[in-house]
């Protein structure tokens, strides 16, 4: 598999995602600069965590207008797999590739903590290697991770089985304990927890590999 990690000015988990894919999963991965109009020959795109363009207006609000995001939207429309992590999830909702929005945590403070997350759907390229109901211990690190959407959207997400990850003990006030969701076609996923941070036993766990290996094994049968 060849993955592309989009780098916005202010991305700061770009290298972590790159390292997890290249060193922990031993797959090919390249960086895609934010003003690239084309993604090149990649099988999957990762939008990393960080503070794209400083996130001073609204998280992800400026990133939405970058040339790279236009290319990502096109890639997604064509069925390409896109994983947005943390700030990447925020960017995906700003772009409309995923419904809803991520707002200030209910506690009003940035929270960095390892939390329990339940896998509530395994029929996706990002979770098919997990067991339904499996509990993953994944770190979160965000100030604006409270997922909100109108009632109709939430009902639809649930009815269409697009809520993939739910907090066991909600750390940020997200509606319906949402930690990660899919788009309609199930090729785009956004999640607030950081799977790339627990892809290595030295970092206190390997639960993040379930997500990343699911993505890779959609392309590489041997994994």
């Amino acid at each position: 598999m060849k993955a592309g990690v989009v780098v916005f000015p202010g991305s700061n988990c770009d290298h972590d995602a790159w390292y997890a894919v290249s060193h922990n999963l031993k797959q090919e991965v390249k960086f895609i600069w934010h003003d690239s109009r084309s993604l090149g020959d990649v099988d999957a795109v990762i939008l990393p965590g960080g503070f794209s363009y400083g996130d001073y207006l609204r998280c992800g609000a400026i990133a939405k207008f970058s040339p790279a995001m236009r290319a990502v939207a096109e890639f997604a429309r064509g069925g390409g797999s896109v994983l947005g992590i943390c700030n990447g999830f925020q960017v995906l909702t700003e772009c409309g590739l995923l419904p809803g929005a991520l707002v200030r945590n209910a506690g009003l403070r940035f929270v960095c903590r390892t939390v329990a997350v339940e896998v509530t759907n395994t029929a996706s390229p990002f979770t098919h290697r997990a067991r339904l109901g499996q509990i993953l211990h994944l770190p979160i690190a965000h100030g604006e991770g409270c997922y909100v959407a109108d009632e109709e959207t939430l009902e639809r997400l649930e009815a269409e089985d697009r809520i993939v990850l739910q907090y066991v003990d909600n750390p940020n006030g997200s509606l319906r304990n949402i930690a990660g969701i899919l788009n309609e076609s199930r090729n785009v996923m956004g999640m607030m927890p950081h799977p790339e941070r627990v892809a290595d036993p030295m970092m206190g766990g390997r639960d993040g590999l379930v997500i990343l290996e699911s993505l890779v094994s959609s392309f590489v049968s041997s994994l």
Binding site: G54, F110, C112, P139, A141, M202
Partner: protein, 744 residues
């Protein structure tokens, strides 16, 4: 123009009449106002270390690992495999009191620039923060808001920049009421061949300004009150600068990319004294001159005078010298990241700092006069200020268990999770051991080596005896590193004191420095740099003398051994023994503070030879995986350390049986150093290692499920379910803070 220089103007620049005479001598003429401003800031205590320089020379600065000692933007030590680390600590005490959020945020920004201006990528930050007591009747609400502001300021800057905040300390003491301490430590990594220095070499090379535009913020933080300025003073911006961590992140990436081109000759950040210090220091180090013209300096406000531009402390700016003819390569790197980069002048041969405004010279001073000829004072020092009595009250506890709970709930000892969960301590996926541990451990992906770091201070010990206190702090940091298996290799320090013009305060400074020197020499952890913060006084009452020490060490990257007991059925061993404290040595303890609300006596004794052997023992035991947990005894003594060992996710407790004739209060809560608690399945191996190193090791009990029981000679001193102690400890800080209606 020269008529502007009145005695009032001189005083307003915090220059003494004698210092002004020295300026006249160095200049051979009356300085212009701009020149006076430049002297004022370069000769300030903050930039010149004029009160401490002669004493700082006593600190050991050399050792086998040291590649760069004091005098540069940060110290550099070798970590093997062709890699090195740059690290340093800096204070932002005064700004953090005036504006806690921005004060702390720009403190983080400043020290990060010190690290990456040398070419190192920052990989860890730690903070040592001190406040007045949160429950003080008159000032508690203010102290709570300062804490809240400082923590969110650190979080705001570090999280956005993308550096993990991996550890630190937080202390509450009446003496920091109205004078909080915010000391920020940062550490970066690079290869030996990637090191850059702040030198303006090569006559004719362009001097290039990069980063944020210059504004009027932070001009001359010290003072500004001459007649000429009163008219303008209505428009003066607050003296605290505003930080932009996003721009800093861009500046980091752009600088590291520009450095890779090979076109950069020297580079330095614009920190305190902004454009002034970066120009004259870079020139002075290279023995060159620098000529710049204000008209080329990017400005975000109109009508700025050369005085304002030279003294602005706008954040996120750098000055660099490039190889002549290769400017384009540098400009391209900065353009990619959307940052300003413009040539504002060039390196000259005459050793002068020449400032022009549209071609007209407005300041012309020898660089050396500014950077190296600053006054040095051997200020009078008598006996260190001391208000505490030698003897204290008789210690008799009504309920030892209740005392333990009160200690665990106290500000200094309770869990600081509420603080460090606001910091991203994992970004860059290198944090092997993060906040709340004995020492932070961050791996270097490229080499298989990990860096351990510990930051510590103890104002109470130093108030009792600054020399002994300083030695104990160094010993504690080295012990913390050893407890995670790391060999301590180098030190940075932040000296926080009151007014050095008071001989009894100057004595605290001198004694502390000499104590640091002795201990750092003994433990072979040379001091490669640091910071001095003086005049920490409010209404004539000084802070406790507070040297803060950061020690770094190395170990092979491996799964960590942590503080908590891992499982029941293991033997609990106390390395170093129970100690034999005198009652005077109990007066600086947390027990005396929290239960007795009193400070007296002397700090604990320290046998440095013995301490070193304890450290060698624990390093061996950890690296060979003989122990499953390790925790050193410090604040709160044996009982607090034992309780902390029970606070892991598994909540494993312990049954402890002691046989001592010591008074139970001393036995449980004295803070004698050189002691470490371990749990092990192979006690014989622990005893063998202790014997080999000639240190005491006592089996004091075993780990078990759910409760902590401490007996002495068959009397039960402490008996609690672990869960009860843990909930007291973990919820205390939030409980203290929630008393503030403003924060609810």
């Amino acid at each position: 123009m020269n008529s502007q220089i009145t005695p009032e103007v001189i005083a307003a620049h915090q220059l003494t009449p004698e210092e002004y005479q020295k300026i006249l001598l160095l200049m051979g003429r009356t300085p212009t106002l701009t020149e006076l401003g430049i002297f004022g800031v370069m000769w300030s205590e903050h930039c010149s270390y004029k009160s401490t320089r002669i004493h700082l020379k006593k600190l050991p600065a050399e050792g086998p690992h040291v590649l760069q000692g004091p005098g540069e933007n940060a110290g550099i030590v070798d970590i093997g495999d062709g890699y090195a680390i740059a690290f340093k600590i800096e204070s932002h005490n005064h700004p953090s009191f005036i504006e806690p959020f921005q004060g702390a945020a720009t403190g983080v920004g400043g020290i990060l620039r010190d690290i990456f201006t040398m070419g190192a990528r920052p990989i860890a930050v730690m903070d040592s923060i001190r406040f007045g007591k949160l429950d003080a009747a008159a000032t508690g609400a203010r102290n709570r808001r300062i804490l809240e502001g400082v923590v969110s300021g650190i979080a705001h800057y570090g999280n956005c920049f993308g550096v993990p905040t991996v550890g630190g300390e937080c202390v509450f003491e009446e003496s920091y009421d109205g004078n909080p301490l915010v000391n920020v430590f940062a550490l970066g990594v690079f290869r030996h061949d990637q090191v850059f220095y702040g030198k303006a070499s090569g006559v004719g090379n362009p001097v290039i300004y990069v980063g944020s535009k210059t504004g009027r913020d932070g001009i001359h933080g010290a003072s500004m009150a001459s007649a000429e300025f009163n008219e303008e003073s209505k428009q003066k911006r607050p003296n605290v600068q505003v930080g932009d961590p996003f721009v800093e992140k861009l500046l980091l990436e752009a600088c590291l990319e520009a450095m890779q081109t090979g076109a950069i000759v020297g580079i330095q950040d614009m920190g305190a004294a902004g454009l002034t210090s970066s120009t004259c220091e870079m020139g002075s180090r290279a023995g060159t001159g620098i000529e710049i013209d204000m008209q080329f300096v990017p400005q975000r406000e109109t009508g700025m005078t050369p005085y304002e531009i030279m003294l602005s402390e706008s954040q996120e700016r750098m000055l660099l010298v490039a190889e002549q003819g290769r400017e384009e390569e540098v400009f391209q790197a900065f353009a990619k990241w959307g940052l300003d980069a413009v040539t504002i002048g060039e390196v000259t041969a005459d050793g002068m700092l020449r400032v022009k405004d549209n071609g007209a010279v407005v300041a012309e001073i020898p660089n050396r006069a500014l950077a190296d000829e600053a006054p040095r004072y051997n200020r009078p020092h008598t006996k260190p200020l001391r208000t505490a009595p030698l003897d204290g009250p008789e210690i008799r506890s009504a309920d030892l268990g209740a005392d333990l709970k009160r200690l665990l709930a106290s500000g200094d000892l309770c869990s600081k999770r509420w603080i460090w969960e606001q910091y991203d301590y994992q970004v860059r996926t290198n944090t092997v051991t993060g906040p709340g541990a004995e020492a932070a451990v961050v791996r270097i992906k490229e080499t298989g080596t990990s860096i351990a770091m510990s930051l510590d201070g103890n104002g109470r010990y130093c108030a009792l005896d600054p020399r002994q206190g300083a030695k104990l702090i160094v010993a504690e940091c080295c012990r913390n590193l050893s407890t995670v298996g790391a060999l301590p290799i180098a030190t940075t320090n932040n000296l926080n004191f009151g007014n050095p013009e008071r001989p009894e305060i100057m004595a605290q400074i001198v004694e502390s420095i000499e104590g640091l020197a002795e201990a750092c020499r003994f433990f072979e952890v040379p001091i490669t740099g640091g910071n001095v913060s003086l005049y920490n006084e409010t209404l004539g009452s000084p802070i406790f003398p507070t040297p803060v020490v950061g020690v770094v060490g190395t170990r092979k990257t491996a799964l960590p051994v942590g503080i908590p007991f891992q499982r029941p059925g293991l033997t609990v061993i106390l390395l170093g023994g129970l100690g034999s404290p005198e009652s005077r040595e109990f007066g600086g303890t947390q027990y005396a503070k929290v239960i007795g609300d009193f400070l007296w006596g002397v700090p604990p004794r320290l046998d440095m030879e013995y301490e070193k052997r304890v450290q060698s023992t624990i390093r061996e035991l950890v690296l060979e995986n003989v122990v499953e947990s390790a925790h050193d005894l410090s604040d709160g003594g044996l009982a607090v350390a034992l309780a902390e060992c029970c606070f892991g996710p598994a909540e494993v407790g312990a049954g402890i049986r002691l046989t001592s004739t010591m008074a139970p209060e001393l036995l449980l809560f004295h803070e004698g150093p050189s002691r470490i608690l371990v749990s092990t399945a192979t006690p014989d191996l622990v005893f063998a290692s202790a014997k080999k190193n000639s240190i005491e090791a006592i089996a004091i009990g075993a780990t078990l499920n759910e409760s902590l029981t401490i007996r002495n000679q068959n009397a039960i001193l402490i008996h609690y379910p672990v869960r009860e102690l843990k909930s007291t400890w973990s919820g205390a800080l939030e409980h203290h803070l929630l008393h503030d209606p403003v924060l609810v």
